[in-house]
Structure formats: C-alpha cells, structure tokens
C-alpha cells in the first residue's frame, strides 16, 4: 500500500507525524536514498516475545518435541526481522545466537545513529551570536533569521550556549521549556554547562562535513554512510567495523529500525538486520491500558464446535498476554517524556526495548525527518527540532530507567548543512557543514568543534572545520573499539579540537 498508510498501521493517530512535513523540496529530494537498494534480505524471521524478554535462561527453544512454558507461540510474533547475511541463517540459528548473548551479558558499548534526512540546516540550529558574526548572519538570512533572546513578534529566538564565550546560541525550539520545545528536557538540559563535567553529556559539532562540498543528496549521503568520499563503496563504515570486530552469527548486532537496511551498516560478511516495528502496543483506550479487561473477555469459554469464537477469544487472550510481557520488559513500562505522535519517538522506544533485551546489539540506525527545507523552513524545521530535542532527552531518560544508559551513545547527523544565504522562498538550498551531535553520559559535553563563522566560500557555503570522519574516528577509537584506520580509508584524520582545548570525545 501507499507510504501514507504505513506509518499509522500499527495504531497511531491519524494526524501526520511531525517529521513528515512536506515543505517545498527539490524534485529529486523526494527520493529516499539512505537505504540499500537491490540488496534483498536473505530471510525474514519472526521475533518471539521471549526474545525481547532477554531469554532469561539463555534458552530460546524448548527441546525438540517437547512443549514448555517457553514454547514460542505460533502466531505470537511481536515483529519481523529482515536478515541480511552472507550465510543463510535460520530462525533457530538467529535466536540461538541471540540467546547465547543474552545468557552471558557483557556491558558492551552501543551506538545509536539518528540520520536527519534531507540535509539539516545547522546554522539555524546553533546560531553564531557574537558581535562579529551575528550581523553577517542577519544580513544573509533576513527572512528566516533567529532573533537574540526569547522568541516574540513572530520571530524565533535563541538561548545562549554555555561555555562558548558568548559566541553561539541554541535556536529556541531545541531548548526545553514553555515557549521553546515545550518539554522539560531538550538539548540545553543534555548539554548542561558545556564543561564536560557531570550533567554535561552532549557534544556539539556545529559544522562537520568534508571538502569540497558535493551538493547532491545522494552522493553526500553515500559519503557519510560509507565513511569515505567514495560513492561506490560497497559497505558502510559501521558495516566494515562489524565485519572486522562484530559477530559472524548474530544479525541482531546491528539493527536498522526501518523496512530496509541503512547503507551505513551494509557489511561484506557479518549478518545484520532491519526491524521496522514491534507490536508492543497494548490494548489501549484513551491512553489507558486495558489488557487485563481484554484478557478477561478472552477467557470466556466458547462451545467447542465454534472454532471462530474460540479462535477470537484465544487470540485476544494471547495478544494481551504477549503485550503485557513485552511492555513489562525489565520492569520498565512505556517510558514517559517522548513526544507524542512522532516516528522518532516510536523508533527510539523500539531501540530502547531491543537494547534492554541484551541480544548483543551494538549498532542501531534510525532515519528520521524531512530536513530538505528549500522553502518555508521555519514552519518545517522548528517543529522537528522541538521533537528531536525532546526525544533525545526522553531516550536518555528511558535508557537510564532501564539501567543501560551508560552503555549507549547517540549520534545525530545529516548529509550536509545548507547555504548561508536564505532564498526567496523562506528556505535554504543545499550547502555544507552540518550539525553533528553525540549524546550520552559518557560523552564529554560541550562545544566539540569550532564554528566556521558565516564568511563562506565562493559559493556561499560554510567552510567546515571538523571533518565528519574525525567524529567517526573518535567513535571507533574511544567507544566502539578497534582501529579506525582499518575502517576509514584515507585516515588517520585530525583529532577532535574542542572549544576549551580538549581533544577527547568521551569523559
């Protein structure tokens, strides 16, 4: 069926989720190119609810020919995983591998990658507000510029970023609080005082990219996914890391939360997978879980000959049982604080559920949003910023409640930034130097890369100071583990240069 129905099929409200705002866009931008094409999954396996409970005994299957409480109920899959693997993996082998991981949990590092689709305008996210820069910014962006201080008079304001010597400010939709993103968390609460001390857990690179800018969505994405300035690479940068340092048997080690695989985790040999959805919704009425009542109705006995009614009641009981089991994973029910009606929220919640199941997942990829803001940028970018900042905060809190936050880093990036000067459609065209952020309590929060200022190159594009592979390199060497030069062609790349002089990504 059409794309329009897909997102809502699981039972969300029918309003259009934020992040699917359709502002003016260039014709070829409508095409999504972030996912692999022409690579078919080698198999699709159902995900049993028991898997999400983390296989408490480490035993995924009952002994052959015997039934036990752990018998996977036929038809009680909570979702499907599309497996991409060089070798054919059966349902049993997938869950045996996952169960083996669950049985011997180790605190391994996990990277969640959120790709902002379309080329996010970093310049209207982190605004240069120094006396030297702001007038230039204003002059170039009159029709969409951020104002200093609180929003008002139809203009969106800014909030100073601590630890930047007054040179930079957050656009207010990225900031918590009434009049900003409306929530109690946002980039400001994650960023803290920017010192990298306790409570300063968000590193910000205002303009990371590569040079020279290639203004094509498709080539630029390919570079970012490949971790190389080469759009013919057959593998993603994380895919190569998995091939070298990951498992050759557990496809759940890297999960694209989507219907197909992200190019960034495309591997040569290591198995990976895509999971689009888990039916972890419960029977709900106006936000109230009625699983218990429904299960009660399902328990009524039908006459034996009536297979239809028997099936219906049994299915309802089973669904309520499964839903209860999934929602109760690790004692954490649906975490509060996520923005409602957003695909980003549901994808992050799914990520949190998978990660807390301890199935050996190291990498999660999420594609989100519609940031190709050629026109009416304020009305499409700002609501997405509000969702993004709130969702990142909620995700961190959710992971903390599950006791795994210290194992997780979240990377946010896009394929490029946008032209410094705005256009006549109240938007911006393809540019360079995109906003990159890394979140997590292990992160040395603060301004992790210099802002290039608004004196652009001859094409009016930002001149990025941080190479995007500098960030990847740090993620590999400091977090995932391994030799970055074996993963990123053309390295080693310059190290991180923080505003405060530091050179580390992590605390």
């Amino acid at each position: 069926m059409s794309d329009a129905t897909q997102d809502n099929a699981a039972g969300e409200q029918s309003q259009r989720p934020i992040g699917e705002v359709h502002a003016l866009r260039c014709a070829d931008c409508a095409r999504s190119d972030s996912m692999v094409e022409g690579v078919e999954p080698t198999s699709r396996v159902s995900i049993p609810p028991e898997a999400l409970a983390g296989f408490p005994d480490g035993v995924p299957r009952p002994p052959a020919g015997r039934h036990s409480r752990r018998t996977f109920m036929l038809g009680s899959a909570v979702g499907m995983a599309s497996i991409y693997s060089a070798a054919h993996l059966t349902w049993e082998s997938v869950w045996d591998a996952a169960a083996a991981r669950a049985a011997t949990p180790t605190a391994e590092t996990i990277l969640v990658c959120i790709y902002l689709n379309g080329g996010n305008d970093g310049l209207n996210a982190i605004v240069p507000v120094s006396a030297a820069q702001y007038s230039g910014y204003m002059a170039q962006r009159q029709n969409i510029a951020r104002v200093l201080g609180p929003s008002g008079g139809g203009k969106v304001g800014t909030t100073a970023m601590p630890g930047t010597g007054g040179t930079l400010a957050f656009a207010n939709p990225l900031v918590s609080g009434i009049g900003n993103n409306g929530a109690s968390v946002g980039l400001d609460t994650l960023y803290g005082d920017g010192s990298g001390g306790a409570g300063s857990d968000l590193a910000i690179f205002p303009a990371a990219d590569y040079q020279p800018a290639n203004l094509s969505h498709f080539e630029s994405r390919d570079y970012w996914f490949a971790g190389a300035l080469d759009d013919e690479m057959a593998t993603g940068w994380l895919g190569r890391w998995l091939d070298r340092y990951g498992s050759q048997t557990n496809p759940l080690q890297a999960v694209s939360i989507n219907t197909t695989l992200s190019k960034s985790i495309l591997t040569d040999t290591a198995p990976v997978c895509a999971i689009s959805d888990l039916s972890q919704t419960s029977f709900q009425i106006s936000g109230t879980n009625v699983n218990r009542q429904v299960a009660d109705l399902g328990a009524v006995k039908a006459s034996a000959a009536n297979t239809a009614l028997t099936r219906s009641r049994a299915t309802y009981s089973e669904t309520a049982r499964m839903s209860h089991e999934v929602s109760g994973l690790n004692g954490v029910s649906t975490a509060p604080g996520y923005p409602s009606n957003s695909d980003l929220s549901s994808n992050l919640q799914l990520a949190a559920t998978l990660l807390s199941a301890g199935l050996g997942t190291r990498i999660v990829t999420i594609d989100w949003g519609s940031f190709d803001t050629h026109g009416d940028q304020i009305s499409s970018q700002d609501p997405q910023f509000a969702v993004l900042s709130q969702a990142l905060g909620a995700f961190k809190a959710d992971l903390s409640a599950r006791g795994i936050e210290q194992n997780v880093l979240t990377l946010v990036y896009s394929e490029f930034g946008r032209r410094i000067g705005s256009n006549d459609s109240l938007g911006t065209d393809h540019g360079a130097g995109g906003l990159v952020m890394v979140s997590g309590s292990s992160v040395l929060g603060g301004l992790a890369g210099e802002h290039p200022g608004v004196q652009g190159d001859e094409n009016d594009n930002l001149v990025p100071i941080t190479d995007f592979r500098t960030v990847y390199q740090a993620l590999i060497s400091e977090w995932l583990g391994g030799d970055p030069t074996a993963i990123l062609p053309g390295g080693p790349f310059p190290g991180i240069q923080r505003y405060d002089g530091g050179t580390a990504l992590l605390k």
């Binding site: 069926m1 059409s2 329009a4 129905t5 897909q6 809502n8 099929a9 699981a10 039972g11 409200q13 029918s14 038809g75 009680s76 899959a77 909570v78 039916s279 919704t281 029977f283 709900q284 009425i285 106006s286 109230t288 009625v290 009542q293 429904v294 009660d296 109705l297 399902g298 009524v300 006995k301 039908a302 006459s303 000959a305 009536n306 297979t307 239809a308 009614l309 099936r311 219906s312 009641r313 299915t315 309802y316 089973e318 669904t319 499964m322 839903s323």
Partner: protein
C-alpha cells in the same frame, strides 16, 4: 506466487480453492431443528435472525435495521436485499477535508469504496460486489492506472445489484471479466498473442475462477494441455489506456491464434467467448461456484442433497446468480448457531460494520490504515487467489489492529457526560451507541462488572468509562464473530 489453501472451511469466508470434495471434513452438524427446515420464507424474524442476515448479507444491522426487520418475514427481508438497487445515503466521505481522490492516491482509492459500503442503502449490493473482488482478485500492486480497478468494480456491481440486473448470470460475467482491462493487465492477458501464448489467465480461469483443481472425487478438472490450448483461445486482446478515464479492451484479429485448439479432448477453433462457455459447461463448474458463494455466507458446508439442489437451481436458471443467492440467504444453515455466532468477520465487514453501527462518516485515512493492519486492504489482495480468510483473519497483530481501530474511532467521537449515570445506565448507553452487537451472556456480565468497578466521580472518569465500555463491547473478542 500463490498461497495454498486448506480444504475445510472453519470460520467461514474462505476462498475458492479446493472447496469441492471436502464434505468429509465437515466440522459442524446443523442443529436438528434447522436441518429439518423449520426456517422458511414465511418465518417471522427474531432480532437474532435479523442480526445474522444483515451481518452475512451486509455489514451488520444498525439499531434501526434491527427494529425495522424484527417480526417481518425472512422472505420479505431477502426480497428487499435482492431487489433494492445500489444507492447511497448522505454525502460522500472526505480525507482531511478534501474530496476523496481515488485516481490520485491509493488510500483514497480504498476509502472511496469503503465509503460506498458505509453509505449503501442496500448493503447487500456492496457486500456482494466485494465478494466478486475477492473472487476475481486483482491488485493495484500490478494494475495501473487505478481507473482499471474502479471500472472492474463497476462491472462486478452489475452482478450484485439484482434490482437493476435481475437476470445477471455468471456466464456473462465470466466473459466480461475475461476481456476486462484490469484482468487483462493483472493476469497479463494483454501479452497473450499468437505465436507466444501466455497461460497465466487460462490457468487461473479454471483453477481459481470457474472449476477448481479437482472435482469432488479428487479427479483433475483440467490438464496442462487444456491450459495451453485455452490460452490460445484467449489471445488477441489488448488494452487502450491512452485516456485513463476511458480505458477499454479491444480485439486484434491478427494477434489471435486462428486455428484448432484441443481443449477437453476436442478440437475446435475457439474464440475467447466460446472458450469461456465451454469451460462453464464442465460438470465441475456448478458445484465449484455454488460452493464458493455458499462459503462466503455460511460456515457449515452444504450436504450432498443441498449441493445438488443448488447446482440444479444454478444450471437450470442459466447460471443466474439471484436465485442462487436467494436460496442461500434463506437456507436454514445460514441461521445455525444463532446463540453463539460462528463466522469470523472479515476486516472489511468488521470496519464497515463498526462505521455503520456508530454512524461514522469517512473523514480521514483511519479506515484504510487499519484495514491494512487487519490484513485486508481492498484492491490489494495478497495474491490472485484473494485473501485466505476464515480463521486466518485473527492473529495477535490483527487483533490489536481491530481493537485499536475502534479505539481511534471512539477517540474522535463526541461523548456526552451524564452526571449521576449509574454503572448499569452507562453500560446500557454504551451498548446501544455501538449498535447493540451480540455478546455472550458471560461477556456481558464481565463488562458490566467492569462498569461497576470503574471510576465515575468526575466528568472525565465518566466519559472514560463510557469510551472503555464501548470499546470492550464493539472491539472485544465477541464482536469479531457474526
């Protein structure tokens, strides 16, 4: 790619593959009093009979339907269903305030038909039209432009609207579908040309649409030779879709295989029309189509005598559909297990039934979104064999989709707070508001107990109680059967 189908018919409403020769698999014996034929045209209908008839022949009764038909005879109701023309009440549905644009996007294509079902004055016409879509299943996945499918639906409607086409017969229909642009595209008949025969349609025509693979005794109904030779007879047809709003098929003599074809052991220079006729004269055809229609409406399989009399009725009337429908809708087995309904509602019947029961118009894509989640998106059958149907409609995913669909409808419903409303009154109001559907006594008792335990001290809690009661009544397990 086609799914294989099991032979029995538990839960009813299954497809047409392999329906012949399965009497030994019968799951239900009719109650003695019904088998004896105590229900006739002159039987005055109880409310339970009205419910049964309207669920099976339509999308369930509204409270008004139930009131209107209770006490009237079965014969009068069936006559009304089979002689009231296609017509629609109210104003057409919309999507986010805009008129539905069925040729512009596929959600609206689906919604426009659901909207017609929802507003149909005689629900039988749309129900039967949809049955033909399930039978001659064509999918939007490989049929473009969408106008082809819409035109095909209009064609099907001629064989469902017996007021306008009282003598509609399957022979005419089979030929019309054979040269229908949508079918020519879906089963690649347009590529079927002399010198390069394409067997696709010829095979499905016999296997899925008219004969079935084997007869009652398990003997093959046709051979591979028959398929190959029949394909030659069907050659030569193409589609002109230059104007998507006026698509038509046409015959090109030079593309047709002009020569003898050996079908069913005899040589003859068959045209497509003659080939259709020839296949329909096979002994296997009448029981096949009678079974296919019967199984859409009745759970227990017909016994030998019933099948014989129905096939006789069908053939002796010149393959007319109306007399057959009349006999099926008045058959005592339609009313078996009245005290505990025994057929799973298909998603389309469930969705449209809920909309009609609550008097809700199509105003957004909620219906199509959830139909997708429930596994039956009109115009998107999974295979040429249609939907598997029956018990397969219900699994943990689709149960949630069914429940949450009703939840979504209720979220938008304007529900009044009645201060001082007792639990019993709240239950009674909720029950009527969702069309007074069948609930087992034990289920009623449980929901009433829930009502009694629910918070009711504030307006919010009373409204919440009302919404929850309505959902438990209309979206629970008992509401999935008819």
């Amino acid at each position: 790619m086609r799914m294989s189908k099991s032979a029995a018919n538990p839960g009813g409403q299954k497809g047409k593959r392999g329906l012949v020769g399965v009497r030994s698999h019968r799951l239900h014996r009719p109650p003695a009093e019904l088998a004896g034929g105590s229900i006739t045209a002159s039987t005055p209908m109880s409310p339970e009979m009205v419910d049964r008839l309207f669920w099976r022949a339509g999308f369930g009764p509204t409270n008004a339907d139930r009131e209107q038909w209770t006490g009237n005879t079965l014969g009068a109701a069936v006559k009304w269903l089979l002689s009231t023309p296609a017509a629609y009440s109210g104003t057409p549905g919309t999507d986010q305030g805009a008129a539905l644009d069925p040729t512009g996007n596929d959600s609206d294509l689906v919604l426009s038909w659901v909207d017609q079902m929802n507003r149909s004055i005689n629900p039988f016409v749309e129900r039967m039209t949809f049955f033909w879509h399930e039978h001659w299943a064509n999918s939007r996945e490989s049929v473009s432009p969408p106008q082809l499918l819409m035109t095909q639906t209009e064609l099907f409607r001629k064989y469902a609207d017996f007021a306008t086409h009282p003598k509609a017969n399957f022979a005419d229909m089979a030929y019309a579908v054979t040269i229908d642009p949508s079918m020519l595209r879906y089963l690649t008949g347009e590529l079927n040309v002399r010198g390069a025969p394409n067997e696709n349609y010829a095979r499905e025509f016999m296997e899925l649409f008219t004969l079935g693979v084997t007869d009652a005794a398990g003997k093959p109904n046709y051979s591979q030779t028959d398929v190959e030779q029949l394909a030659k007879a069907f050659s030569g047809w193409q589609i002109n879709d230059t104007n998507p709003n006026n698509v038509y098929s046409y015959f090109t003599q030079s593309r047709w295989y002009d020569g003898p074809k050996l079908v069913f052991g005899e040589f003859s220079n068959l045209t497509a029309a003659e080939a259709v006729k020839l296949v329909l004269t096979r002994r296997a055809h009448a029981p096949f189509i009678v079974n296919a229609i019967w199984n859409e409406f009745i759970v227990s399989l017909p016994d030998a005598a019933t099948l014989k009399s129905l096939t006789h009725l069908y053939t002796s009337s010149g393959m007319q559909i109306r007399p057959l429908m009349q006999a099926i809708l008045m058959h005592p087995l339609l009313f078996e297990s009245l005290e505990e309904p025994n057929m799973v509602k298909s998603p389309v019947v469930y969705v449209v039934g809920a909309l009609r029961a609550m008097g809700i118009q199509i105003t957004d894509t909620t219906a199509s979104d959830y139909l997708d989640g429930m596994g039956e998106l009109p115009y998107f059958p999974p295979t040429v064999a249609g939907w598997e149907g029956g018990l397969s409609w219900l699994n943990t995913d689709t149960a949630l989709a069914r429940f949450n669909f009703i939840s979504a409808l209720l979220q938008d419903a304007k529900i009044k707070d009645l201060q001082g409303e007792t639990a019993a009154e709240a239950y009674a109001r909720a029950y009527v508001a969702v069309g007074s559907p069948w609930l087992a006594p034990a289920t009623q008792a449980k929901i009433k107990r829930f009502a009694a335990a629910a918070q009711s001290s504030t307006p919010e809690s009373r409204i919440n109680r009302q919404v929850t009661l309505r959902a438990l009544i209309l979206a629970g397990p008992d509401a999935q059967v008819m």
